[in-house]
Amino acid sequence: MLVHAAPYSQQGALSALRFANAVVERGHRLSTVFFYHDGVHNASALMSPPQDEVQLADGWKRLHREGGTQLLVCIAAGLRRGLVDTGEAARHGLNSHSVEPPFELTGVGQLVDAMLENDRLITFAP
């Protein structure tokens, strides 16, 4: 699955999560969610929505915890937008980070690999 939509800005992030849950319920394996464009914001460890709203971050992490879905974040798109894990923070001399496991910063090459290895790719856009 490829997610371009930012959380809470566009419905695409929520649509993606709801579709992901439905696919898993059906018994399919969802190997990878790749976050690109503004979708990288879904990986922010600092998201703090009000309690009475959809908890997108919890939803993504549950996919990883219960089904082993990889949560991959495009590193180039992420760095530009402030999505940085501890490794990249060190590499760039930043004193804080915003991405934590199970989200992983990775290259676009992983998207290409995932596309070729899996039998379906569904994109959710803003």
Binding site: L2, A77, V108, M115
Partner: protein, 134 residues
Amino acid sequence: MNSTSGISPATTAIDAPQDLLIVLRHAPHGSSWLREGLDVALVAAAFGKRVGLLFQGDGVFALLQGQSSGPLAQKGTHPQLAMLEMYDIEHLWVSEAALAARGLPVDSLMLPVTSLEASRIARLMHSHPHTLIF
């Protein structure tokens, strides 16, 4: 109608499907869609995948001559397009209708492209195993 310039028809035929088709529908500068779509194309090609590009809708403005970063000091996409050749991305298709709607003749573009009428665009999509739209 199928007009080609520069590249021999054999290399741009739509019956030469690539591993991946990237469809570019957004104009340069106003958003990062075009840039990020091209980035996927370049990375896939750097990994040895065969990549084709289809310019559709406002994406055809990416092919306009005379672009620059200019007063915006924001990187444009025209150097990325010029670089495609270095990544062996040679299959460039463009929507004939999108060009016509925007008053752009195919021979005024910065790269040689093959223009396709609508029915051939549908066939192009069908002939590719993987398509991403940006």
